[in-house]
Amino acid sequence: MTTDYRTDALIQVKHLGKRFGDLEVLKDINVDIRKGDVVCVIGPSGSGKSTFLRCLNRLEEPTGGNILFEGVDITAPKTDIDKHRQKMGMVFQQFNLFPHMTIMKNLIIAPMKLQGRPQKEAEEEAMRLLERVGLADRAGAYPSQLSGGQKQRIAIVRALCMKPDVMLFDEPTSALDPEMVGEVLNVMRDLARERMTMVVVTHEMGFAREVANRVMFMDDGYFLEENAPEEFFAHPRNERLKNFLSKVL
């Protein structure tokens, strides 16, 4: 995918910092995420990439800096973060489906309770999305009856049912058996093709190279390098990135 930037940034991150006690995990993060961007964040474990992602919807409270989402400073104390989170879908490493609800209930509870959508409409929308990920026949099942790959596809659909403007993926394939990684990446690839804005923390270099339009390398609480994927993987400049890529590729 080539760069097709519009000027308007969907998410603007300014001087973002996060510390846990004495441990400074994010130091000075500045990045704009534009509409339609597919941003892959890579880096060694413990580098702060998950924390960065979780700061974007304030599952982690930033300890410094600002995050603007659709022009609104969501780090301001008065912000109703719940409202903005409805527009930011999130997919977790551990799926986190609600085990006491059927798949269908998992998908419709948030649209019904938060957006006041009628049950019938919410179910139709959910069914349409289930069909797209090939799981329409599992609507009545419980999460415990599904494989890991199926669970993660459902988790993606659950986030999509809220019609978000951006999707945040926190290592979505890291907890999967190898043979199930592909089915999840395929769903994400389809999403990217439909110009969904995505921020993906991942170890899947192949996915980053093929699907992302921007790849960013994080280490030690900073973004050390950013580039289009071809450049990023072919001609890394930063020494630590070179070192990292030599280990993972």
């Binding site: 599952l59 977790f92 551990q94 006491h100 419980y142």
Partner: protein
């Protein structure tokens, strides 16, 4: 032997309509247990929510402190002392329905145990469930209500059932404030007939049957709630 049994039975239950002591006593036992269970659940649930909210968010510290005092005092003293203090000290100067006093005493007592049961249930739910709820846009209260507490309730149901069995049997000390519940009823018969085994065994058997019926329903409910784990 069977003639003796028949004679004892007649003397203890039929003569002078003594069975009424048992039946009325049973009625009071059930009444006290039922309303004390309700009060215990409401109190326990509230206390558990406050305590786990404090543990998760560090908010409500003052209420949390009050809850901890409540738990310490109630769990640290015998229920019989609590019952008598409520009857003879708190309401000592008032005429008040003794059954109501018992409901208060046993409900407040049970609430402390139920609170810790609920809290352990809430804390046992993986934080990822909470985060998933929040990430969809649910606020703290909605996340607790729709996502965390239904799972917590399912997990603690066996412990909760156990607590109610304990409560049912504990009401047998309500006789200390002269309530005629089941145990007291049996004891009155004993004091009239000088026959101990018949009324006491009968009372014991009635408790046993009630516990068995109750256990049966709890197990049924457990099975129904378990249908999501295959």
């Amino acid at each position: 032997m069977s003639d003796k049994f028949r004679a004892d039975f007649y003397q203890n239950f039929i003569e002078d309509d003594r069975w009424k002591y048992m039946v009325n006593g049973l009625g009071n036992t059930i009444k006290i247990t039922f309303f004390a269970v309700l009060l215990g659940i409401v109190l326990g649930f509230l206390v558990a929510l406050i305590r786990s909210t404090y543990e998760k968010t560090r908010k409500l510290w003052f209420l949390d402190m009050l809850c901890r005092v409540y738990l310490t005092v109630i769990r640290g003293t015998p229920v019989l002392i609590q019952l008598m203090i409520i009857y003879f000290v708190v309401f000592g100067s008032m005429r008040i329905d003794k059954v109501l006093v018992s409901v208060l005493a046993f409900g407040i007592n049970s609430g402390a145990y139920v609170a810790e049961i609920f809290r352990s249930g809430i804390m046992s739910i993986d934080n990822g469930q909470f985060e998933a709820g929040r990430s969809l846009g649910f606020n703290y209260r909605q996340t607790m209500f729709y996502i965390v507490t239904p799972q917590a309730f399912k997990n603690v149901l066996p412990a909760l059932g156990n607590e109610f069995i304990v409560l049912l049997k504990e009401t047998s000390v309500a006789g200390y404030i002269a309530i005629q519940e089941l145990t007291k009823g049996a004891d009155i018969i004993r004091s009239r007939t000088y026959n101990a085994y018949m009324p006491l065994l009968a009372a014991g058997a009635i408790y046993l049957v009630m516990v068995m019926i109750f256990t049966h329903f709890v197990q049924k409910l457990e099975r129904r709630l378990r249908n999501s784990d295959h």
